[in-house]
Symmetry: C2
Subunit: 205 residues, 2 copies
């Protein structure tokens, strides 16, 4: 690092602190901005400063937002009766991008994990219950990850919301689209077989 001046070294260190960026990546980013795109660097700086200070959580879905009601919760024309519960903002983004869901969301920011002291309060369960009543939701879709903690979160939430007169559903688990069967792990295949759907039956044909 002695090849660079102290201030440039500081920038390299700041970039290296980001996930997935190693020494070479940090050097490439810093030199690119310094040599070719100082405006881009200034813009990134201003934007980072503002987001780090101003972005909080939506009062409704808990997603990251600088306004108390995020654009998605403010969007009219969505289906009020559906609420999809996800672990992280990135999961919400992935579902939105699929284009196959038009209800509202709730972000847990984690999954039940007593060992990490993540319980119902950390996941905002009280807020979730209020939201369900306020919106008049009919079905809660639990879209937590297909991990042990994700499943534990599903069990806990179904128990927690038992008296709310709701349909509680879980997203389907099975083989991914385009997946060759011999590349799919056996746990997933097991789920796919147990969760099979009839495509033809004596009563259907």
């Amino acid at each position: 690092m002695t090849a660079f001046s102290p201030l440039v070294c500081e920038l390299l260190e700041a970039f290296r602190r980001l996930p997935g960026i190693g020494p070479r990546g940090a050097q490439r980013l810093a030199l690119h901005l310094l040599q070719r795109d100082r405006d881009g660097g200034r813009q990134l700086a201003t934007c980072l400063q503002r987001t780090m200070e101003e972005v909080g959580h939506c009062r409704y879905c808990r997603n990251l937002s600088e306004q108390p009601r995020c654009p998605l919760c403010a969007e009219s024309g969505r289906d009020d009766r559906l609420l999809c519960v996800v672990e992280q903002p990135a999961d919400l983004a992935a579902i939105e991008q699929s284009g196959s869901y038009r209800g509202y969301y709730f972000v847990l920011f984690g999954r039940l994990s007593p060992i990490d002291a993540i319980g119902p309060d950390e996941l905002g369960c009280g807020q979730l219950r209020e939201l369900l009543q306020e919106r008049g939701v009919r079905e809660v879709i639990l879209a937590t990850s297909a991990t042990v903690e994700g499943e534990a979160t599903v069990s806990f939430l179904s128990e927690y919301l038992r008296n709310e007169q709701l349909i509680i559903s879980r997203i389907a688990q099975g083989v991914p689209i385009g997946g060759e069967l011999d590349f799919v792990d056996s746990g997933t295949l097991g789920h796919a077989i147990n969760g099979r759907r009839a495509v033809s039956a004596p009563e259907l044909s």
Copy 2:
């Protein structure tokens, strides 16, 4: 991108403008900073702001530096008689890291390319000549890249510095250390054979 609030989208865009960072990478960086490391984000913002404003060029070697004389040029105990000419700051860093050179440097910030209007002035050739005289340099090592433009830059500089009473050398081209011969391209192999060195000869043994 509608899954995020306007300010968060702006941050995603600013990250995507960086080289080698796609939509998923930008999302990972932004969400990481917002959810787990706001201090890191603020630090990166401050550091970017300062470097974009303050970092200029060393008056001697032309490398990026916030001081008029960069730490490397200010370092005593280096060999005054050697000057290594490189194309980019990253090349300088790579040579420093090899630990096999203890002279000073000069950064061209490019290579001769008349088609892009990069000529002797853009490469700071006048400044290079002054530096050579000021430091009393005896040998100039041309460490430009092994490309057509890199070689053209070598030819031009050797001609340009012809009357300076200097040894002008070029870094060796050949097979890389640990390189299996059948993976080395034929151009490199040709250079390696033409630039062969005797390890034993009748006079040596």
